[in-house]
């Protein structure tokens, strides 16, 4: 028996990685092309299509909108999701079982249906501003992730620790912040990242809720591809990719990625 893995295993693993990475290589290549159309391998090397992203005002605006919506939506989802996850775990015996299911419902319903329902009932029904509709829609689609991830974290939390703190004279609300929250910190950060990325990449719900003047980046990319065939789209994709990698790198350096697997 040798300690080295079998060469077939290495070969299969390499193939899988190639299969996963190849599209990314093509996108990066296309983004760097000097041509005015999408092509691979790139012909000539240029960063002009990256500059072009910021020259097109629609991209500038939608990048900002997407970041705003993702950040605000995630924060609101955390504000609702953390107490919800806490209550679902703390009072698991007392609360009815369907209540937990209620919070994951938005991902069980097909997103297209969900987006359409929101459009019909909320945007059209109340005439609410587009930004607000988008924010509510995104908050709702990321809420299940927040509740699930933090619930998983709380499932291994021993609530007698909380009782110990209360018995020592710490008021219940204060105990939540000084004792419970620090012990599910990893779960909260994981939930934040998952929710932020989900919101940033969402197409189906945004498709229904965007409107005149306000759009998100993925929707703008779609719109751009419908009209132009230049490498700007590839550059935006690369930009998004590096944003995600950057977030992950920061997490890896500060916390280690292993907690995401928990």
């Amino acid at each position: 028996m040798s300690d080295r893995p079998h060469f077939l295993l290495i070969a299969v693993a390499a193939l899988v990685y190639l299969f996963l990475m190849l599209p990314l290589v093509i996108v990066v290549g296309a983004a760097l092309s000097d041509t005015t159309y999408l092509t691979f391998p790139p012909q000539g090397l240029s960063l002009r299509w990256f500059e072009n992203i910021f020259e097109i005002s629609a991209f500038r605006r939608t990048i900002i909108t997407s970041l705003q919506i993702a950040l605000l939506g995630t924060l609101i989802a955390l504000l609702i999701g953390i107490p919800a996850a806490y209550a679902l775990n703390r009072f698991r015996i007392e609360l009815p079982k369907w209540l937990g299911t209620l919070f994951v419902l938005p991902i069980l319903v097909p997103e297209i249906v969900f987006g359409f329902a929101l459009l019909k009932s909320f945007t059209v029904g109340t005439g609410a501003p587009i930004f607000l509709s988008l924010l509510i829609g995104h908050t709702l689609i990321v809420l299940p992730y927040v509740v699930r991830v933090i619930s998983a974290s709380l499932a291994s939390f021993d609530f007698s620790i909380e009782e110990a703190a209360i018995s020592l004279g710490s008021a219940p609300v204060k105990t939540f912040f000084t004792i419970v929250l620090p012990n599910v910190r990893a779960g909260v950060i994981a939930a934040f990242i998952l929710a932020f990325i989900t919101s940033l990449n969402d197409v189906s719900v945004s498709l229904f809720l965007t409107g005149p003047g306000i759009s998100t980046l993925p929707i703008q990319i779609l719109a751009h591809v419908e009209q132009f065939f230049d490498p700007t789209v590839a550059s935006v994709s690369v930009l998004l990719m590096f944003l995600t990698v950057a977030v992950m790198a920061v997490v890896e350096r500060t916390l280690g990625l292993t907690f995401l697997a928990k």
């Binding site: 007698s160 620790i161 009782e163 110990a164 209360i166 018995s167 004279g169 710490s170 004792i179």
Partner: protein
């Protein structure tokens, strides 16, 4: 700093299920009282009611004249030691112990001084800067004990504190707990399902069953004079025989069951009613091969070896009994013997409707 605890007719429900019925219990200042019983008997419910994690449906809870019944837990000033230690994983050993002092608005320097002094007492001062995760079970429970004691609570409560420790450590720790409790003179309530543990460290023990208090007394009394068949069986009186009085002669009473007569002194057992139950441990029945002995005829069944004696399953006209016989003469299954109760090892119980 030591105060009496008084529970008056406390009942509790989970939903519509009654889990505690009319419990009245008085713990004197400085006393250690154990709540003993199988799981589901209401002992943990009682502790949680006193701690304030549950609210009684009826009744009141007083601690040193303070009414706790509706007071929120964090204002009750009770030290709690949990089965699973419940240390704060994100705080050092020292900060764990100092936590309660911090809630009392003490300065950091004072907190540190007192927490260190307490850690010194439980022998963990060198580990003050460790994380709780790096400690052994016994060390964790010492930290939990220090954390509960350092706030100098008028009442200290233990919820099965030794269940997660191995047998040897359990014995050491219970001695340590008792010594700390004694030297502080803190009124204490100790919940356990372990009879030996309860009897060894308590001033008094409350034996509970199905949400009711069965008997509340000193361990010596519970062990020798159980008040009812439940407690009798609980403390090891495995043989319970129904007797009828057939003659009274001043202090002496002659009673009969299944062809065996016994003479019992009311000076020893108290007033003996016309029908009663006689309870003995297996040690209280002598296995006699002498056919003329005055005892209950029995046929021996399975023999097991206990180390200090042989134990026999016996069939008698009064039912199935368990007796311990001497090590010098092991007897075979099927042997016909007499079982002779030793009056000093028997106790008398009132007859109860049904068994």
């Amino acid at each position: 700093m030591t105060q009496p605890l008084d529970l008056q007719a406390v009942s509790a429900h989970y939903g519509t299920t009654k889990v505690l019925e009319d419990l009245s219990l008085s713990v004197q200042a400085g006393e250690l009282v154990s709540l003993l019983g199988a799981s589901g008997c209401g002992k943990t419910t009682t502790l949680r009611l006193i701690a304030g994690f549950l609210t009684p449906t009826t009744g009141s809870i007083q601690l040193g004249g303070r009414d706790l019944t509706r007071l929120p837990t964090h204002k009750r000033d009770i030290g709690l030691v949990f089965q699973n230690y419940a240390l704060f994983p994100h705080l050092s050993v020292l900060d764990n112990v100092a936590f309660g002092l911090k809630q009392r608005g003490m300065t950091p320097a004072e907190r540190r001084k007192r927490a260190m002094a307490m850690l010194e007492r439980v022998g963990l001062a060198p580990l003050a800067d460790r994380a709780p995760g790096a400690l052994s079970g016994g060390q964790k429970q010492r930290v939990a004990l220090a954390r509960a004691l350092v706030i100098e609570p008028p009442l200290l409560m233990f919820d099965e504190p030794l269940s997660n420790l191995d047998a040897k450590l359990r014995v050491d720790m219970r001695v340590e707990i008792r010594q700390l409790q004694r030297s502080n003179g803190t009124t204490s309530v100790y919940v356990t399902h372990d009879q030996e543990e309860a009897f060894s460290i308590s001033d008094r023990v409350a034996i509970m069953n199905a949400g009711r208090l069965m008997q509340f007394d000193r361990p010596e009394v519970l062990y020798r004079r159980p008040a009812n068949t439940f407690v009798a069986r609980f403390v090891g009186f495995e043989n319970i025989l129904p007797f009828k009085v057939i003659a009274r002669d001043g202090d002496m009473v002659t009673a009969e069951t299944a062809g065996m007569t016994l003479r019992l002194s009311q000076a020893v057992y108290g007033a003996i009613p016309d029908t009663f139950l006689l309870a003995t441990r297996p040690d209280g029945l002598v296995v006699s091969t002498d056919p003329t002995a005055e005892g209950l005829p029995a046929q021996l069944g399975l023999r097991t070896y206990l180390g200090r004696a042989y134990q026999y399953q016996c069939e008698t006209a009064a039912g199935h009994l368990i007796a311990n016989g001497s090590l010098t003469t092991p007897l075979e299954a099927g042997t016909n013997v007499k079982l002779v109760p030793m009056p000093e090892q028997c106790t008398i119980l009132a007859s109860e409707g049904g068994r």
